[in-house]
């Protein structure tokens, strides 16, 4: 009962955060120069229009001209169309409304992304991101699994065998994780597994297109096509939307292509490792320190005095308590975790929301895609935090029972 109240309260707390994030993006957008916004909304001004989107144009019409210039009709029309002539609060309301209803603008042919992926021209940003989200999610889930599998046992061992080889090892791992930026680690791995080892192991190579592996099992092996600029796997139906679920691995299974499924998992192992590494670094120290603190607490001493064997003391009594801290920290570092995606997806030229963000960044006027992907990532973080809090409440009766 109290648990439900807790969850509902947590959900209510999400509202101000989401609105606040949208407000921040709104502030950033409205700080942009008006002309850029017009271009990003309506494309480049027509060649014949004098002065383009400049607010005023020189004219000789005396009755409405001051010192030889009069307002640019194109500018006036489009600002009105975009609602930029309204008071700022009204604009804010409109913006929030659109953002909440996933109207984040359109990907037009100015976008670097649309140049690379001709299929997404003219689609709405939300749709496009919806197409790409599953690829990112698969990567995220895999790397989360890696994170949990590695960091919790290692951290606990580090606390138990304190200042001894395993502790030092975990220390070095975590610090090197702090100190290795994703792009360097990714490049190293790419070197090691793609160039150094050559085609013999290119089944690990994420940059390689999946369908070639597929074709290989079908019978032909075009080695070159592994490195052509082709981006989308042709085996997926209607362009790059894998159907029916959108998750390539799942779809491959549904299509009965088990090798394909295994392959598309194999190919995101390296990126997942790169993403996981940074987060593991952050998590390990917290797990270890919290475990150390818990093991100095009284109830652990009580358990020992009861005659509970040491293994059980650590795994059951201490471990369960430090698990709460671990989960909380995982929630806190989730934003960083998400921040790794653009880089990694770029290095390994995977397709995903992060890469969309980068493409949008490189294209001059593609604000819709930039802010859209940012909002999407933020929603992911918020969602993860809700899950973490509920899990925490479930694990800790002090929270659950108020």
């Amino acid at each position: 009962m109290r648990m439900w109240i807790y969850i509902v309260r947590r959900l209510l707390l999400v509202i101000p955060i989401v609105v606040g994030v949208m407000t921040i993006t709104f502030a950033l957008v409205s700080a942009l120069p008006v002309q850029d916004r017009l271009i990003s909304a309506f494309g480049a001004p027509p060649k014949n229009a004098p002065g383009g989107y400049s607010p005023t144009i020189p004219c000789s019409d005396l009755n409405k001209s001051q010192n030889g210039t009069c307002p640019n009709p194109l500018y006036v029309r489009d600002t009105h169309k975009l609602g930029l002539d309204q008071p700022i609060f009204y604009q804010w309301g409109v913006y929030i409304g659109n953002a909440l209803t996933f109207q984040w603008g359109y990907v037009d042919n100015h976008s670097g992304a649309s140049q690379s992926f001709s299929q997404i021209q003219g689609q709405s940003v939300a749709t496009v991101l919806g197409w790409f989200l599953p690829y990112t999610l698969e990567l995220a889930i895999l790397s989360l699994i890696i994170i949990l599998i590695v960091s919790i046992p290692l951290g606990n061992l580090g606390a138990v065998y304190r200042n001894r080889p395993i502790d030092q090892a975990s220390r070095v791992i975590s610090f090197s994780g702090y100190a290795l930026p994703g792009f360097l680690l990714g490049s190293f791995l790419l070197f090691a597994f793609v160039l150094a080892l050559g085609p013999s192991v290119n089944w690990l190579d994420p940059t390689c297109k999946t369908e070639t592996w597929y074709q290989f099992w079908v019978g032909s092996w075009p080695q070159q096509s592994c490195y052509t600029g082709e981006i989308w796997p042709t085996w997926l139906k209607n362009g790059f939307i894998s159907s029916p679920t959108g998750f390539p691995t799942v779809d491959a299974m549904i299509h009965g292509q088990w090798w394909l499924a295994a392959d598309s998992l194999l190919r995101i192992i390296l990126p997942a490792l790169v993403i996981a590494y940074g987060t593991i670094a952050g998590l390990l120290r917290f797990v270890r320190n919290s475990m150390l603190e818990v093991m100095n607490l009284d109830f652990v001493r009580t358990a020992r005095a009861k005659g509970v064997p040491e293994k059980t003391v650590i795994s059951r009594h201490a471990g369960r308590n430090s698990l709460n801290v671990t989960i909380t920290v995982l929630g806190l570092t989730f934003a960083f975790f998400i921040g790794g995606f653009p880089v990694v997806e770029t290095i390994f030229s995977l397709w995903g929301v992060g890469r969309m963000f980068v493409y949008a960044l490189l294209s001059p006027y593609d604000y819709g895609l930039i802010f859209g992907s940012t909002l999407l990532f933020t929603f992911l973080v918020v969602f993860a935090n809700i899950i973490v809090d509920v899990l925490y409440a479930y694990l800790d009766p002090r929270v659950r029972l108020g």
Binding site: N296, A305, G307, L401
Partner: protein
């Protein structure tokens, strides 16, 4: 030797005894009249115990040659100011000293003739730097690990403890029943599983017993209902079902036939499925192996050498059983196959809570530590410590964190339990008054040494050591409040640079030159009364 055979006897027969009738026939054989406590066998004999802490500021000589005896069924009080090493003594006995920084350096802790500190000297290689006074400690972690394994055979069933802060001392994420049943399973596991396996949920005599129970419940005085419930338990030879039935009928207000049907439904849960039985048998096998391991550890400590072959055999069996256990873990329904055991242990912990006369044991057992008051938690702690029928109970400042009225309750409870179970109690507190309430004999500690040991009566009537005298006279007295409080000047010395000779001499009113030079010997003044002070010239006590 019989002293060692004792614990196995306790573990096997006690559960069946006290489960049948909680308070009445409780351990009548074990109770010792206080008169011949002097002649009853010594269960704990601590000789010249030394515990040091190696810190930044230097080596803290927390315990420097502490010796005392605890006899069966008696209560020994250990009293002294903060930092005099009372708690360190207790933790050294069960080897709960956090290491680093602490470490037991030397001495003997004979628990029924077994030296708990066996193999200690080879563990520590300590170099003390004379200039800075700091120390380098080399540890062989393997030896420490084995030593701790050995201790798990002693802790709980041999020596169990209760602590000062009940709210801190219980695990916040587990319910009271979880923590109680953990202790129960650790030490009575086999018998619990046996009873669960031998329970007969159906039979000719079950139904009538249930009906009898129900109609006694309709017009029943509680104890008659309880008796009827116990009869039901006997009928199904599972005593926990008796308790469960008692609380069912006393709480719910169903019509009689519904009640009977409901009871039968509950009883039906005791009819175990094949997988559940298999699981229980596996648990039992594991418990048996663990018991054997503990026996092995005990014998190792007795005979003084490690029996590697036997260890390898037992460990192998343990590991194989673990693997079989994983099979049940992988089996998706682990929660369900564990449920019979969980219910059993839950109701057993309810029974244990009844024994310490807690009014609503079911709610308490379901509750979590943060929902209960300090006094209640302390009772639960006592229950937990005593539920394994320990030979010695070490109570470390059990009432310090509690209020006066609650303290009175707890002391009352401890006296009562002592009368019933006859466990030897080592009571550690700074409050001379509390000691006076419960202790048979008292050791007064000062700066890591025991300065005086006597029967409580003697100590309070004629204290010999100046420190004891000072302590007693500095207690504000309710009877004579007008007299000015006399206080001991100064404060406890730091144990990094303890005073040479008698450690009390800087604060001692009778300090003599010899006190500054050598440490006074422990001399006997009258029977059971020893004191370490140069003022007294009794014959040197044989420790």
């Amino acid at each position: 030797m019989p002293a060692v055979a004792q614990p196995t006897v306790d573990r096997t027969n006690l559960p069946t005894v006290d489960v049948a009738a909680p308070s009445a026939t409780q351990g009548g054989t074990l109770t010792e009249p206080a008169a011949d406590a002097g002649h009853s066998p010594v269960v704990l004999d601590v000789r010249d115990l030394r515990t040091y802490f190696f810190t930044y500021d230097g080596v803290v000589r927390a315990l420097d040659g502490v010796s005392f005896k605890v006899r069966r069924g008696e209560t020994l009080g250990l009293v002294g100011e903060t930092g005099c090493g009372k708690s360190v003594t207790a933790f050294s006995v069960v080897r709960l000293i956090p290491d680093p920084p602490g470490r037991v350096i030397g001495g003997k802790v004979l628990f029924r003739g077994t030296d708990l500190l066996w193999g200690l000297d080879s563990e520590a290689r300590i170099k003390i730097d004379e200039k800075t006074g700091r120390a380098k400690v080399r540890r062989s972690f393997r030896r420490i690990k084995t030593a701790l394994e050995r201790m798990s055979a002693i802790r709980g069933r041999g020596i169990s403890m209760i602590f000062q802060e009940p709210t801190q001392a219980m695990n916040p994420v587990f319910s009271v029943s979880d923590q109680l049943s953990e202790a129960l399973l650790l030490h009575h596991g086999t018998s619990i599983v046996d009873e669960l396996l031998n329970a007969t949920p159906s039979g000719p005599q079950v139904r009538p017993a249930l009906e009898a129970l129900v109609d006694t419940a309709r017009n029943g005085a509680p104890d008659t209902v309880r008796a009827a419930a116990a009869k039901v338990g006997q009928a199904m030879n599972s005593s926990t079902f008796g308790t469960q039935a008692f609380y069912l009928v006393s709480e719910s207000d169903l019509g009689p036939e519904d009640m009977v049907r409901r009871l039968e439904r509950v009883a039906h849960r005791l009819r175990l499925s094949r997988i559940e039985r298999a699981y229980l048998r596996q648990r039992r096998r594991q418990m048996v192996v663990e018991d054997e391991l503990h026996e092995l550890y005990l014998s190792e400590m007795r005979e003084g050498h490690i029996n590697r072959r036997q260890r390898r055999v037992l460990r192998g069996r343990h590991a194989r059983n673990r693997l079989r256990g994983f099979y049940y873990g992988i089996w998706g329904i682990r929660g369900r196959i564990q449920r019979p055991l969980r219910d059993e242990t839950f109701w057993r912990s309810v029974q244990r809570l009844e024994e310490v006369s807690i009014a609503n044991p079911v709610q308490i057992a379901r509750g979590f530590p943060h929902e209960l008051s300090g006094g209640m938690l302390q009772r639960v702690m006592i229950t937990m410590a005593l539920s394994v029928d320990p030979v010695i109970l070490i109570a470390d400042e059990p009432t310090t964190a509690l209020d006066v009225t609650i303290q009175a309750q707890i002391l009352e409870l401890m006296r009562d339990l002592k009368r019933r179970i006859g466990t030897a109690i080592l009571l550690i507190t700074h409050d001379l008054a509390v000691i006076a309430e419960v202790a048979d004999r008292v050791c007064v500690m000062y700066a890591g040494q025991i300065v005086e040991t006597a029967r409580a009566r003697d100590l309070y009537q004629h204290p010999l050591h100046p420190y004891t005298q000072g302590l007693l006279s500095s207690i504000p007295n309710l009877e004579r409040p007008d007299k000015k409080l006399s206080s001991i000047p100064g404060s406890v010395p730091d144990l990094i640079h303890p005073p040479v000779g008698c450690r009390f001499h800087p604060r001692c009113p009778y300090a003599m030159p010899i006190c500054k030079e050598q440490r006074p010997p422990t001399t006997a003044e009258g029977d059971e009364h020893t004191v370490a002070c140069f003022l007294y010239k009794g014959d040197v006590a044989v420790e």
